[in-house]
Symmetry: C2
Subunit: 196 residues, 2 copies
């Protein structure tokens, strides 16, 4: 029997939620509002964890690809919101490097600061800016481990030509995290967390 | 038009290379020899970068899933060897958590120490041990950036219940890295590296 193909498919509600693919997201606040809404809808639809993300063209604000956490329904610990947005965007653009010459500069907007895995993925993706809503400590606050991240992670990104913008609509992002827990959402993999 | 499904399919040669799916890998040296051979074959076949990995049952040494770097041909910056092995293993086992109760303990064997992204992915995967061949500095030595990893990353894994074994057949792993460069293999994304 051959090894299986792994398929990453965004939740069915995503195409309904984004019917107008030319909808403009001119400001950072607009972009963050969208990814927080995707996180909220992901929780409501029980299609994954309380995290949303999107790859946008930095100047125009055009949405290239959305992403949501699909770890539990997808049977895939890699399927964080940032990772799915990056993978779908690269599939659409036909390149492993969103910073490729000839493409408009792109950014990743994430409802919560990236975990250790997604932090690395940001570097390899080719995006030129990372915009974050909730902070690491907000994710940890509801029991998610953010993993082995260097404390100076924003500097590490900036050194690699990736600007970082934090605390955009942080309160709204945190509200979705809390909503997930209030609904009894499963904080998976928490058993492996280090003692604080 | 709906957002596309992202598909991760191991190279066609993989099923030929592993026809005997019950082949035993009793020792750590056996397991490392296999993943280094997969890395070498990946280079020879021009199906990706010089990195191989595998998820094994820790006690029996049964291979659950192999992985190789497929970044360039797959148009996917996330498709590192460790990530593909984890995703395929979780697909086969039908769970996002390879450390789930009822499953035998598993380990990830990687031809080179994980980059920042894969380090985080190891934590979320549920494996109980990480076995490495080449070191970070060996990957950097041929121009690959390992990304923003904390300097005490082995401690960070051990704190989360994941043992780390390093320098297994390091020289053989490094030989594949050198072979890739000698053949003119593309050291992608190097432009974003920080100055040393």
């Amino acid at each position: 029997m051959p090894f299986p193909t792994v398929e990453i498919t965004l939740p069915a509600w995503m195409d309904d939620a984004l019917t107008d693919r030319n909808h403009p997201y001119p400001t950072v606040a607009d972009r963050m509002a969208l990814v927080i809404e995707l996180a909220r809808r992901n929780v409501e639809s029980e299609t994954g964890g309380p995290f949303g993300a999107g790859i946008f063209e930095l100047q125009s604000g055009r949405l290239v690809a959305p992403g949501v956490n699909m770890v539990i329904p997808g049977n895939c610990s890699v399927a964080h919101a940032e990772i799915t947005a990056i993978m779908v965007a690269q599939k659409i653009m036909g390149t492993f490097d969103l910073g490729e010459e000839g493409l408009p500069p792109m950014e990743l907007v994430s409802s919560t600061e990236p975990c250790a895995m997604c932090l690395g993925a940001v570097v390899w993706s080719g995006v030129r800016r990372l915009v974050c809503g909730g902070r690491d400590e907000d994710a940890r606050g509801i029991g998610f481990d953010e993993g082995p991240k260097p404390s100076n992670w924003t500097v590490a990104l900036e050194k690699r030509g990736i600007a970082v913008l934090r605390d955009v609509a942080r309160r709204d992002a945190v509200a979705v995290l809390k909503h997930y827990v209030d609904r009894g959402g499963w904080v998976y993999n928490a058993r492996q967390s280090a003692a604080p």
